[in-house]
Amino acid sequence: MDWLNALIQGILLGGLYALFAAGLSLIFGVMRLVNIAHGDLIVLAAYMGLTTTIVLGVHPFVAMLLVIPAMALFGYVLQRGILNQTLGDDLLPPLLVTFGLSVIIQNALLEVYTADPQKMDAGALETASVSVGGLSLGILPLMTFGIAVVIIAGLQFIFYRTALGRAFRAVSDNQDIAQLMGLNRRHVFGLAMALALAVTAIAGILLGIRTSFDPSIGGGRLIFGFEAVIIGGLGNLWGTLAGGVILGAAQTLGAKIDPGWQLLAGHIVFLFILAIRPNGLFPRISG
């Protein structure tokens, strides 16, 4: 029973990892940009949520309504203002620039919020649970997983059923030809980053309710996001969810064997899958 419990907790945790990964996956899929600052943007969103809850005295889920559009707007401006200039045939400039961005965000957060760990207060929701067949499942992890499924389904819908998604795929396929179709790729990229950071806002706030955070934890979230994307297969959003679930389950099962093995078990499973299936478990499918 303990093992089953650990497995289920891990699966639910995987929902959060899938949310970390979804924005990363979307950005790479549309514009071949590896965003090193992604983890720090998640932490930034958590701090924005924290400030909103404290200043306005609202619940973190209400704060989301403000943080999501704010992060989306930030994403669009960031893309049009800086990141578009780095995109080209060379993969190195966007890597370097987003690495620099990561350093800047971390230090700015340190300056404003200090290095003390913070946590968002979600009230009774944090400890509420339901009992299912002898297992006690936290409402918050269940909600996180549910949100992750809804977000992935929503992104999938946008990608394959809307004009915006068509533009994303067309620009990803061939930027020049997409331009001939009247699509300004700089604008399309801006919209992709806005969407990715809107998802990041949700991920950051859920993270900030679940655990305490400080300005330095972005790197770790980036790694989890990367691992989920790679396990699932690049460019496949449902695969990303599966990747998050596998990573989460590996971590909690590892922790069950020995608490010190939590992160290690996740990394080992990641490396194992990378070794046997270098393209991930579910490589890109076309809708």
Binding site: R166, A170, D173, L180, G182
Partner: protein, 236 residues
Amino acid sequence: MPEPILNIDRLDAYYGDFQALYGVEMTVQEGEVLAIIGSNGAGKSTLLRSISGLMDNDADQIRYRSEPIGRLRADQIAKKGIALVPEGRQLFPSLSVEENLVIGGQVGRKGPWSLDKVFKLFPVLEERRSVASTSLSGGQQQMVAISRALMSNPDLILFDEISLGLAPVIIKSIYDALPGIVGEGMSAVIVEQDITKALSVSSRVYCLQEGRVSLTGLSDAVSREEISRAYFGVEQ
């Protein structure tokens, strides 16, 4: 003479240090079909890429309906009514046949062309509307590429090597469809390797040689000798 729809004035084009076009002068009249011929590397595709905004040019080097468009981006030019059917078809592999067509129509210009109308022109595309564009034959892909350009309801359509790599029977069916396309009052520029084909569908012809215009004339008036001289640059 009426104002030409497109006026190219001393156009130079570069790929890095390499100069691909040298002082090209060209006009396209409203409603005419213009052919551009020339050997590989003569600059034909570069010329079409310049017109459609995929190359950087000076503003005044290309004028469309008297407006300088040389500096505009390709998406801005597409919205003004110039469409390119690119060499090698270049469909979007992640998009279905229908999505490839719809995205062409997304430019947002009004006109006679719609999904129904291109399906009438190429009925096979309607049967295969929901399959991935990569699963079509070369000829069908070319039909999609042409239809995708038509969906934007352009006033000027540029065809780059539409018969390249296709079977003769397919080439014939595509050229048979051409009068129905330009009959709508559209102007067209056709880049074609097959000189006989190019001359038969066009009213005027330009020959490019090493980035320069080496011959212009009425398609039914230019002689074989003139063309081979302009094409190869040697006296025969």
